[in-house]
């Protein structure tokens, strides 16, 4: 054996050892990191509950890396299995976060539904209060509480002379009546037409009926069920003033709307 080859052999051996040492150090660091990550997920009760399989796989890979680290020259395998173990730990963590979020979302969804219901109720309440307000308005709007019930009078000015068509100026009051009936779905109405004593009896009867009918038509057009509307024409009967003066006759030409009570009970017809 020459001195030369001895030196060469020693160099090769030293190189190999240093390579192994390097890989060993790298493997050691990876192993420690993977071990720390595994420890963290293993101690988390949520992770154990939600992603037990991933935790087990992280543990298996770690054990494998650990075992390999005792073998000579297996540095890259140690790094590989430590990497896999770390990945499993991370996946377990992510799965857990996802499921926890979903569980939280389910709770929030219930809360959202509860709030939505509460909001709907409060809106309904405000509509009911609005209904009460409207009722007061209707009451104030030239209505009289008589023994026939709640009565609202549409005056002569809402019709052209001798015509049955309701004028546009009646729109506001008609809309109020519609709204009132929509908010009080059980109430029904009887629409009664009246005329003054000028002209023939038959003509007056027809005109009073036609006027009442035209009010009923508008209500139906605006969505009130025709079953809730009764129409009567009384001609020149039941005057509210003397027919002697023009003013008195104007008072007598009218359409009266009789509202039932809240249960739909109408006062008897005349």
């Amino acid at each position: 054996m020459s001195l030369k080859s001895n030196i060469l052999g020693a160099l090769i051996l030293a190189g190999t050892v240093s390579l192994v040492g390097c890989a060993g150090q790298q493997g050691e660091a990876a192993l420690q990191q993977a071990g720390a990550d595994f420890q963290k997920v293993k101690e988390d009760s949520n992770v154990l509950r939600i992603a037990p399989k991933d935790v087990i796989r992280a543990g298996e890979s770690l054990a494998r890396a650990d075992r390999l680290s005792t073998y000579w020259g297996s540095g890259s395998d140690v790094v590989h299995y430590a990497y896999l173990s770390q990945r499993y730990s991370e996946i377990a963590r992510e799965h857990t976060n996802q499921v926890l979020n979903e569980e939280r979302a389910a709770k929030l969804e219930l809360e959202r539904q509860r709030l939505q219901l509460a909001l709907r109720e409060s809106k309904l309440l405000s509509v009911q209060q609005q209904g009460k307000w409207l009722e007061e308005q209707i009451l104030a709007l030239a209505t009289t509480q008589t023994d026939r019930g709640l009565v609202m009078t549409l005056g002569d000015v809402l019709f052209d002379t001798g015509e049955a068509e309701l004028k546009n100026s009646a729109n506001r009051v008609v809309l109020k009546i519609v709204q009132f009936l929509q908010l009080n779905p059980k109430r029904v109405v009887r629409i009664e037409g009246y005329a003054d004593s000028t002209g023939g009896k038959q003509e007056n009867l027809k005109l009073s009926r036609d006027r009442a009918q035209s009010v009923a038509d508008v209500l139906m057009d605006l969505g009130i069920d025709d079953k809730r509307i009764l129409v009567e024409g009384y001609g020149d009967e039941y005057p509210v003033d003397a027919n002697a003066s023009e003013r008195g006759r104007a008072q007598n030409r009218r359409v009266e709307i009789v509202f039932s009570d809240e249960k739909g009970q109408l006062g008897a017809a005349r």
């Binding site: 054996m1 090769i12 590989h80 990497y83 990945r87 979020n101 409060s122």
Partner: protein, 118 residues
Amino acid sequence: MSIRPLFAALAILALAGCAADPAPNEQMRLTAQAVEQARAVGATADEVPEMKLAEDKYNRAKGSMADQSFRNARMRAEQAELDARLAEARVLTLKSEEQLNVLNTRIARLQKQLGAAQ
């Protein structure tokens, strides 16, 4: 002292290494599936770093398969599979967070409206 036994030992080790590694066809299939699944939930290499790792490693694994370097192919494919699974899990977690945010926003809006209504 001779270095010949050392060479012999190394050769045997190398041979043993080669012999222990058959073509990892099943692992390649699993990896392809995992990458595909991650892609299906919306993981992209641009947005999720793990997805880029998965795609790169999977491509390198395919290269190793072509070179008959099965040990490398298996290790790369195994890592790529878990990279892809992690990418998928990250995307799903992100989505669940977004859902939480949406719900929280809605609840805040409802509470505000309720406060205004009362």
